[in-house]
Symmetry: C2
Subunit: 438 residues, 2 copies
């Protein structure tokens, strides 16, 4: 799925690579500012980062896709309206509070856009808002309006890194990917580490390009790229209320449309890889290649059922090749969806080794040993016993490598295929989410 | 859902109560035996318990429901055949190895039934086999045949407790429930603590009665009772390959059919409560009452989506009323299933307090405090820091109480309702399942 195979041995090495990816395309500036506030819902001090992306000139070439969660956040509702704006000039993003189902949420988002517009000298409907963080809390809108000039002051046209850092919540590290297209480029950033099973869109992803692609082509290119990347991963099966992918072109550099689409697909696939690998508590990325399916949707469903099985996730976390749980997960999904299908030609492999065929497993101590070695090789880190005995924190804040636990499923039912990325389930995920808001 | 509200302050108190529930109906005997073996798939010593239930006389009154997983275990395949046997005389159950997708699995199950039949002087097709444990491993059939006489020798007609203890795997304690029906009774036992989201049947459940109910009525009564109990719970969303519920009557005592059906429904509901409360790593049982749904299946889907949300599960484990995740989970399901439904009349309560209505949350520090207190009151235990820093084990081996985190959802869409039981997600679940087979 990913086009690269990176390895990093230190935080500094990862940081240097991020910087090399981060050069902004022509026509964009980004800035971020951080400030404190007290949520109205719980009286505990919190901090928020406001991230501003501004175009040198408003552009008519922009595309966005949003969550299909039936309780979308206010910024998603406002963002959908913006799709019919003639032009956009800026994106404003805050973390910590997602502004979902909060009283007066849409008004708050529109006020923020108006504040940005006044400072930049553009129209409010040229500003796209995004919020991520706790669901149900109200935006601290007065404090945010007060902080906006700081974000404008920080604007610079060199690096997207301040934005990649500004939008994160539980992410361990910022995510930046780039691709060249002729003389132009596409640069993408993403946030998201939990509540990740996108449904037609995903977490927060911003893609910037100077390639001159008109609005309609931009939008169809984004749909195709998202469908083949973000929509084929899951960290925890939970679909965010704030998922947003936006793509904006400054239209500075002429480009070949096919080359652009290929580059966009690669950047999206690379960011998908980054998001899964940096998922909350992820020790192992799991790559499930499904083929022999009656259609692609069925293949996708099987792949999702496998990566979302809590029991398989735990086994993989423990480097335990409990492959019976793989069969359980496939059978659970097929049994619930289409109980009359004949799975007698189903074949399963792990690490390139056939472990199941003709209705029965092929297991022995040598296979067990090979599978354990494969899982250990794909491990990003092992849990470290926490100082307080209970609160697990990941010991690394960069991705040591891009290896995955490789599972191949041939359903023996048809010609369709699909590859899905997922992750294991660990103590660090529980610790992160048992008391996320404090 | 449960008909009781039990509290226990010690293992001894729970044990005494179990004994009071365990008196066998007329016409049944149970016995169990434990022995060691070495699995062919991994060369590490393991132990297995064989549990035998024998009727004094073969009976034509029996019913069974099995998993809808598309990779059913060999005993499930054999068990389905037994449904057309004229009579049954015994049930033989082993733990540790589930005999699912193992080479020669059906032959092994049939050999075991033949061994039981020879010892009891009945026909092989009068014996129902069940296996639970690791998926993919082969039954140690020679050792099992060798151990059978020990199980026969242990047969006694007083207590079902040896069977309730013999069938467990990761369960912390045996599960026994009973109900009187006139002069007769129904006694049920269950095992199951993980891989629990039954689909038309569930884990291993055996129900014994001396009430004289003919086969057809017995089977329809079981379908109704299972549908309203086991099919409305989930511990981890994973559907077992071995789920089996069997109900056998010795037909010794005349009974009123309506009273029987009500008693059966109560025993099934009580065992459902037990299974969830003893789920792997469960700190809190979650009861989700959904109403205002267009139909019951929709209500069930919403309830399942809520109890299966990993993020909500983690928040509840941490006594963190992160109710935004409740809205996320409902919206994820509705958005994926029926994106055009109008949820503007949706109302949510927790602990009897309205927390969401008219599209927005009603949260403040007082509500936060009340919700935290409710969650703490429903907690079964807190995690204890493990000696090795990593391997969490539950500190109690009995259910201290039957309180639950109470969530009510009125979708505002129709008249249908459904209540679903689920559980939170903890370090103990991860520890249990990261290396289950060793």
């Amino acid at each position: 799925m990913a086009s690269t195979s990176l390895e990093f041995s230190s935080l500094d090495a990862h940081r240097a690579w991020l910087k090399s990816q981060a050069r902004l395309p022509r026509g964009f500036r980004v800035g971020a500012t951080r400030f404190g506030f007290v949520p109205a819902e719980v009286h505990k001090p919190a901090a928020m980062t406001l991230t501003l992306v501004a175009l040198d000139q408003p552009t008519d070439a922009f595309a966005a896709m949003f969550t299909r969660n039936a309780f979308p956040g206010a910024p998603v509702i406002v963002g959908r309206r913006r799709l019919s704006s003639p032009t956009v000039a800026a994106i404003i993003v805050n973390n910590k509070v997602s502004n979902v189902c909060a009283p007066g949420g849409i008004d708050a988002s529109e006020r923020l856009c108006a504040g940005v517009a006044a400072l930049l000298g553009v129209r409010p409907d040229e500003v796209i808002p995004s919020s991520t963080g706790v669901i149900g809390w109200r935006l601290p809108i007065e404090a945010m309006i007060g902080a906006l000039p700081g974000a404008v002051e920080a604007l610079q046209g060199e690096s997207v890194l301040p934005a990649a850092e500004g939008i994160v919540t539980t992410d361990l590290y910022p995510k930046v990917r780039r691709a060249a297209v002729g003389d132009g480029s596409i640069v993408g950033i993403a946030k998201g580490a939990g509540m990740i099973e996108p449904n037609l869109a995903t977490m927060l992803v911003y893609l910037f390009t100077d390639c001159d692609v008109p609005r309609d082509e931009l939008r169809s290119s984004l749909r195709a790229a998202v469908d083949a990347s973000f929509n084929r991963m899951s960290i925890d099966s939970d679909t965010s209320t704030s998922d947003t992918v936006a793509l904006v072109s400054s239209r500075r550099v002429p480009c070949d449309l096919e080359a652009f689409r290929a580059a966009l697909a690669r950047v999206c696939a690379d960011l998908t890889e980054d998001v899964v690998r940096n998922g909350e508590g992820v020790h192992h990325v799991i790559r499930v290649a499904v083929r022999g399916a009656p259609d692609e949707a069925f293949a996708l469903g099987v792949g999702k059922a496998v990566v979302n099985s809590p029991l398989l996730q735990c086994a993989i976390c423990g480097n335990d090749p409990n492959v019976g749980r793989l069969v359980m997960a496939i059978g659970k999904h097929v049994g619930a969806q289409a109980g009359d299908l004949d799975l007698s030609r189903c074949k399963l492999s792990m690490a390139g080794r056939v472990i199941f065929a003709d209705g029965a497993f092929r297991l022995d101590p040598a296979a067990e040993e090979a599978l354990v070695a494969h899982m250990r090789g794909a491990e990003l880190y092992s849990s470290v016993a926490p100082a307080d005995g209970l609160t697990f924190r990941p010991p690394v804040r960069y991705p040591p490598h891009e290896r995955a636990v490789e599972i191949a499923i041939d359903l023996g039912l048809g010609k369709a295929a699909c590859t899905v990325l997922g992750a294991d389930r660990s103590h660090e995920y529980i610790s992160e989410n048992a008391d996320y808001r404090t």
